[in-house]
Every structure is written in C-alpha cells, then in structure tokens.
C-alpha cells in the first residue's frame, strides 16, 4: 500500500513540477503551419493541373516537391526549429515523413553508410511503411472479395 502511495505522491509531484503544456497555443501553431503546408501543396497541385498533367502525376509531383523542400530544410537544420514551433503542424503533413527519414540519416552518418545511414533511416519511416502498406494490401484483398461477390465497397 505504501508503495502505491509513494508512486502516487511522486506522480503528483511530477505533475506539479512539469510545465503545463500550453495546448491551445500548440494547437493554434499546428493549425496554421499544417494548413499552410497543405496550401502550398494545393498550389503545386493546381500548377500541375494547369499544365495539363493528370491527377495521379500531379499528386506524386506534389509529394516529391514537399518531401524535397522538407529534406532540404532538415539538411540546413531549419526543420527542427519549425518542428519545435509547430509540433504536429509539420509532423503530420508528408514533410514529417520526409523529416523522419532524412533526420536519422544525417544523425547516424557516424555509424557508417550501411548500418548507420541505410538502416537508421527507417527508424520511424519503417513502421509507417509496414503498417501503411500492410493496410493497403488488406484493403485490396477485402475489395477483391467484396467485388467478386458483386457487392461494391463504395
């Protein structure tokens, strides 16, 4: 009993000491930075469409450009600062995916190019790809099953 009591007291102590994260301010910053990144994406998308490219190609070009910009900013160590300010605002857009690959690639250079850069690159992006691709394969299989029974899955 006393141990739980101590843990609880410790938790209260930690809660009291740790600064209250200013959630409203964080959300506001995440909102406008995230919105801005998406708006830049929309502008690239519209430029592609204006030049007569189809939707799929435009989407891929937009992703590549945003990933490129984010990689460049990560290389200059500017992305970390944006990330600190914007939180999820720069993490959730595709820029965060890019940063999650580029940042460890740079950081683990000292461990060599194969097991350092090559392997550590996927510390965060690996799980994203594993679950993203697995989910998409399941979606495809489910679609196939429903489709052969001529029940359309929207």
């Amino acid at each position: 009993m006393e141990k739980i009591e101590t843990n609880k007291q410790y938790q209260d102590y930690v809660d009291k000491k740790s600064p209250n994260s200013p959630i409203l301010k964080n959300c506001f910053n995440a909102f406008w930075v995230g919105g801005l990144i998406c708006t830049i994406g929309q502008l690239i998308l519209d430029i592609c469409a204006y030049r007569g490219l189809n939707e799929e190609v435009s989407g891929t070009i937009t992703s590549i450009i945003l990933i490129g910009i984010s990689a460049f900013l990560t290389g200059l160590n500017l992305f970390n600062r944006i990330g600190k300010f914007a939180g999820a605002g720069s993490l959730i857009p595709i820029t965060g995916f890019s940063n999650s690959i580029v940042s460890p690639a740079m950081e683990y250079k000292s461990e060599g190019y194969i097991m350092g850069v090559g392997a550590k690159m996927f510390t965060v992006a690996g799980p994203v790809l594993v679950f993203g691709i697995s989910a998409s394969i399941l979606v495809g299989i489910v679609y196939l099953i429903f489709n052969t029974q001529s029940i359309t899955l929207v």
Binding site: Q42, I61, F72, S110, L129, G140
Partner: protein, 129 residues
C-alpha cells in the same frame, strides 16, 4: 501566369487550409493529451488513412479539401489504399500487392534518395543537443 491565378478558386484554398490544419490539430491534441509518441501517431494516421480510403470515406474529404486531405500522412495511407484498389481492378489479387506501393512509389523513393543525399552532405556534429 495571370491566367493561372484567375483559374484558382479561393474557397478551395480556404477549405484546404482549414482541413489540413484541423488534421494537424488532431495530431497535436494526441501529442499533448496522451503519451503517444510521434512515431506511433504517424503509424496511427497512415493506417487510419488507408482504412478510411478503403471504405471510400476519405475520398469525400479529398474531393472537398484537395491537398488539405492528401498532404497530411493520412493522405499517404489513402493513396496506398486507393492504389491497391486500382491494382485489384487491373490485375486481381496481384494488384493488391503492387498497386499500393506503386501509387506511393514516387514519395517513398524521393524521401529515401533525399535522405541519402542529405547524409552525404551533412556534417555528423551538426545536430544541436
């Protein structure tokens, strides 16, 4: 270029900004209110995007908000799922395996390539700690 700016619809951009921003706010609330790490949030969002994409729900959001829905990582999942469905339509079961990754290939390859280039250029001690 004037013609281009005239062709833009301002409301498209407003909804793109608002929806994209709100998706990020959901992520921010998860970061602040729970103890989920950012890697788990990315995984959660990409999986959610793939499921909603597979159910056809996310398509409505994409039609409504454009890049506001496709640029966030949920859009990456949506893109994978959409590719997988398109693959199944073209190749059957095989398409489920090639469609998703093919749709996202550009982004994945770009991120890997740029990451490698950045590591070549970067000085290892650059990271501020």
């Amino acid at each position: 270029m004037d013609m281009f700016f005239q062709s833009l619809n301002i409301m498209d951009y407003v909804w793109c900004f608002v929806v994209g921003g709100l998706i990020c706010v959901i992520g921010q609330i998860l970061i602040d209110k729970t103890k989920i790490t950012s890697a788990r949030i990315l995984v959660l969002f990409v999986t959610l995007g793939a499921i909603l994409g597979g159910l056809g729900v996310y398509q409505y959001l994409v039609d409504f908000a454009g890049a506001g829905a496709t640029v966030p990582i949920t859009g990456f999942g949506y893109n994978l799922a959409k590719g997988a469905i398109k693959g199944v339509q073209e190749y059957g079961l095989l398409g489920a395996f090639i469609g998703g990754t093919r749709a996202a290939a550009g982004g994945i390859s770009a991120a890997i390539f740029f990451g490698y280039i950045a590591s070549l250029i970067a000085k290892p001690k650059m990271k501020k700690q």
